[in-house]
């Protein structure tokens, strides 16, 4: 009687003409059963429409019948479901992430990263498990904001371990690139890098994953919004008209892909000086915009002179209990928590679909 090893060895003469490898090392042979002189196995092809499947069967039979003690060979043809590696990885990597919140600015320079970082810190301080992904390929800021410049994440089995600072899990494009590298990257490369960051990071169990999005409403932003099940998007803007025009574009993009907008955070709304609020950008246009799109303004954050300095030192302002800054960001975090809960409970939660036909 032939052993399993002998049978597999004998089957190695059968090659896939397209892949130029034998069917055993390709892993096509499954469920091998030997019952006396009868050998039966499944041959799992890449596609049910494989044009050479009959040839495979006869070659397998021919090879095995040569072995001593083999009287009958039964080959059951099956086909593997078409793999979409990206979607599979997305599901695997994100399965323990309860809510992904995108922080988007539409326009650059409005303090989106500062808001993302401080929001993440505030959420973590209220006891949630929080991850922060710096997806801003053009200007990754998390390494600087957390004092991790020049560090590289630990890689094991092609997956990254995020950095952990103060209970926050951190990952940034900046950890994988050389300074200045993004300037010479084309769209597809950027999308690729982002997908790696998202799907190859061991996020583990998270209540919130905060995504610091690249500014704008281009290809990359659209890819993220389309391919992830975002719980919602938080829009950061400044009061001036230019920023608001861009915000309108961002709102359009998110609504096209059914991502609920949690609200607007207006940053740098005013500067407090001697008890007086000075509106450096003039009267805010945000309320009008929010009204026309039916959005809520979650906060109008003033210029916090300390925030920038502390960020540059790698100490997010929200981490300092009892300060005005920490309180302001805590309010934003509370609003985000409530609105994510509402968004997830509304009828726009779509059913999980994964049907193998």
């Amino acid at each position: 009687m032939a052993s399993e090893t002998e049978i597999l060895e004998a089957l190695k003469v059968v090659e896939d003409p397209d892949l130029h490898r034998d069917i055993v090392s390709l892993g096509f042979v499954k469920n091998l059963k030997i019952d006396g002189g009868e050998v039966a196995f499944d041959l799992e092809l890449t596609t049910p429409a494989c044009p050479v499947k009959e040839k495979f069967v006869s070659e397998c039979q021919e090879a095995l019948m040569k072995l001593d003690g083999v009287e009958e060979v039964k080959v059951n043809l099956t086909a593997q479901p078409r793999k979409n590696p990206l979607a599979d990885q997305a599901q695997e990597s994100m399965k323990e992430v309860k809510a992904i919140v995108a922080v988007s600015s539409c326009k650059g320079g409005v303090g989106k990263s500062t808001v993302s970082v401080n929001l993440a810190v505030s959420l973590a301080q209220s006891g949630a498990k929080v991850g922060l992904l710096d997806a801003d390929i053009y200007g990754p800021s998390i390494p600087t904001l957390f004092g991790l410049e020049g560090r590289r994440p630990h890689v094991e089995k092609d997956r990254f371990d995020p950095f952990e600072v103060g209970g926050l899990k951190l990952m940034s494009a900046g950890f994988l690139m050389q300074p200045g590298e993004a300037a010479v990257m084309r769209g597809p490369m950027i999308s690729n890098l982002l997908q790696q960051l998202l799907f190859l990071t061991n996020w583990g169990e998270l209540d919130y994953l905060i995504l610091d999005m690249p500014p704008g409403t281009g290809d990359v932003q659209l890819t993220i919004s389309q391919s992830l099940q975002l719980a919602g998007a938080l829009i950061v803007t400044t009061p001036q008209k230019m920023a608001l025009i861009d915000v309108a574009k961002g709102i359009g993009m998110f609504s096209q892909v059914n991502v609920p907008i949690l609200g607007v955070v207006e940053n740098m709304s005013y500067l407090e000086h001697g008890g007086e609020k000075i509106q450096l950008y003039g009267p805010s246009g945000t309320p009008a915009l929010a009204e026309s799109y039916g959005l809520d303004i979650l906060a109008q954050l003033p210029f916090f002179p300390g925030v920038v300095q502390m960020c540059d030192k790698g100490q997010p302002a929200a981490a300092n209990h009892g300060t005005v800054e920490a309180e302001a960001y805590q309010k934003v975090a509370d609003q985000v928590v409530r609105r994510v809960a509402v968004a997830q409970n509304e009828n726009i939660t779509v059913p999980e679909v994964n049907i193998e036909w």
Partner: protein
């Protein structure tokens, strides 16, 4: 003014060998013919990106075509891979709603 509430699917299942069964949030249930779904693919291979003209002809799609896998794409669409080798056909909920005989 309150905008009209868009409808969303409450369940998506394999109906029969040839139909995808979608139940909508307003209670309507539709059995969508998978061959018609394949014919309605709006990807860049099937529809001209500029003129929106249909490149894929109905007769190019065999009656025997079936999905291999149906799954979510983000929150806004389903993605279907097909037995004819065509993959990643995208159907927004709006498009499926229209095909189900409702509004987008």
């Amino acid at each position: 003014m309150v905008a009209k509430m868009k409808r969303y699917p409450s369940s998506v299942e394999k109906g029969s060998e040839k139909t995808l069964s979608v139940t909508w949030s307003d209670g309507q249930k539709a059995d969508l013919d998978v061959v018609e779904l394949r014919r309605a693919c709006v990807c860049a291979h099937c529809v001209d990106e500029h003129t929106r003209e249909q490149i894929l002809k109905a007769e190019d799609v065999a009656e025997t075509v079936r999905p291999i896998r149906v799954r979510n794409l983000g929150r806004y669409a389903l993605m279907i891979d097909w037995t004819d080798g065509h993959s990643s056909s995208i159907y927004s909920w709006d498009a499926l709603s229209r095909m189900s005989g409702g509004e987008g």
